[in-house]
Amino acid sequence: MNEIPSDAAFDRAYRPFRRDHARQREDLLQAIAKGDRPTVAERPRRQPRYARAVLSLAALLLVGITLGVLFWPPGAPRALAVEEAREQLLQVKSLHLKGWNFQTVERDGRLQVERFPVESYTERPNRFWHNGYGFSFKENHRLVNVTHSYRASDGEKSIVVSHDQRTAVIRLANRLETQLQTEQMLQQEVFDRLFIGLPEEYRYTGREEYNDVACDVYEYKDSPWKEGFRQRCRIWLDARSGMPVRMKGWTLPKGRPEEPVFEYHTIRINCPRPDELFMFEAPEDYNVHVVEGEAGPIIVPDGPTASGGGDSLGSWIPFNINDRAVLYCWFLDPSTDAKGLQRVPKFSLGRPGNSLPCRHIPLRSDTRWNWSLLFPAKENGRIDLDDQLFVVVKSARSHFSSSKVPLRLPEETLRQVIREAQQSTIGPGSNVEPFTLEDLDLIVESASADN
């Protein structure tokens, strides 16, 4: 029995994609005839004084391309795979990372690389465990102190354990807050850890076996002419599923051999939960402190989240509304300028280094906090996977910024977040009517139509 579909079956399966072609072709040509002529990209005229630099750059590129053609494997898959991996990672149920944090330290007058185990487990809707280190150096590489801690929550309780202080703090967890933390980890922090640079900047380097899995390996490297801190990373994607199974990063210090910085040797997606991480048992001889009441909210921070030169910015997690707008709550101190006018930070949306100023619709001001809807200025009016919200505060005495990924949330969670968050800004006893998700949808729809 031959179970492989025959060519005849494939031909029939693909036949509909050719059907009615002539009519569709005619429709398209008519649409083209009615519409605008295509935009023909003009080559910008360059100032003569730049000509030499441009020629040098072109020569460098030519050398690069030639070397690429000579040494990169032929028939390599495109970096589309990295973008797909990112898109799929956004939808996982759980993610378990294990690896190493590498530090280059000086021991007995010699530089050597030491490694520290790192681990994180994140599970939707509201469960996470992750550890972290703090390193104090003197004279560049003399390691004088290391702190090590972990945080975990199962949506019911949360624990923070400090190994260096030998303390454990246990408290009740707020489910919604824990869900937001979980989403923030999966939608921002994991991306930051696993991917450096943009998907299209990755190059395919070949196929390798890793833990008996055939992997397509991609590499990102900062441009050689990038100033200061430069990085390189490699990611191993399972050739069958396209999902990452390993990642390793290096720094490229000037004048020294590159140094490893981190490695995730185990990347498991939608795996069984490692229950041992959630036992919440502080090691013996640790000082355990059980706090009454729930953990402090993260939707509404107590104070400023960024400051400088006497200016303070308070900012919440931004929320993605239908991929068309960002709901953002913020305050600036001082709130008015010398003329008594309200100060508003500069908002922009986009990729790092390539963001555009937003259209800003103020929604409401509650005492200190301001609610805003921010719309991307891109042609398609959409917020893409890589887009972040950049908030810049600039005055005569200060200049600082903050960037965050607008969280995408399931509808019911978003509705609950909007309701609870406004309870914090409106305050008790107020007659102000809170807006709902449906109100926001209407504003977004009408604003998008106006655009």
Partner: protein
Amino acid sequence: MNSSDFERLTAGEPGAFAEVYDRYAPLVRSICFDTTRNLAQAEDLAQEVFLKAYQRIGQLRDPVRLAGWLAAIARRACHDWRRERGTDRLRFCESAPEIEAAAPVMPEERDIELLRAAISELPEKERLALHIHYLCEQPAEVAREILGLSSSGFYKRIDRARRRLAAILKPLGVEP
């Protein structure tokens, strides 16, 4: 495509663009079908893809990249289509992305439709390889550009895709 054809194309000459349409429209429709799972919607989406491509045709610098460029526009359009039609703001899957078993291949039209649905469940690289193989005139060249595959790599992938389809169909115990 020779240089004068390419110049006509990038200058926005409709006749030159129509030739591109003839060559790649079936492929773009099949890519769109993988997202829409509905032929009429796939045809509409493919028309949008070509309109966008026509608007941006002047940005194309290399005739060799034409197929890959069109496929990238199609992928982006599919991405936008999914987002526009998502009833939830975000759908989180409960399990790892995997190939689901599809229905068997039979000579009847219903089963051909099921084969089409099964193809749509293949990993993207294998799916694209099959689309190219069955819908493009010079499949190996198009595959080199879109998938970055050598000729032998392309046919190996076709073979793998067929075997995977067979594996999907086998448990269903249907004679082809």
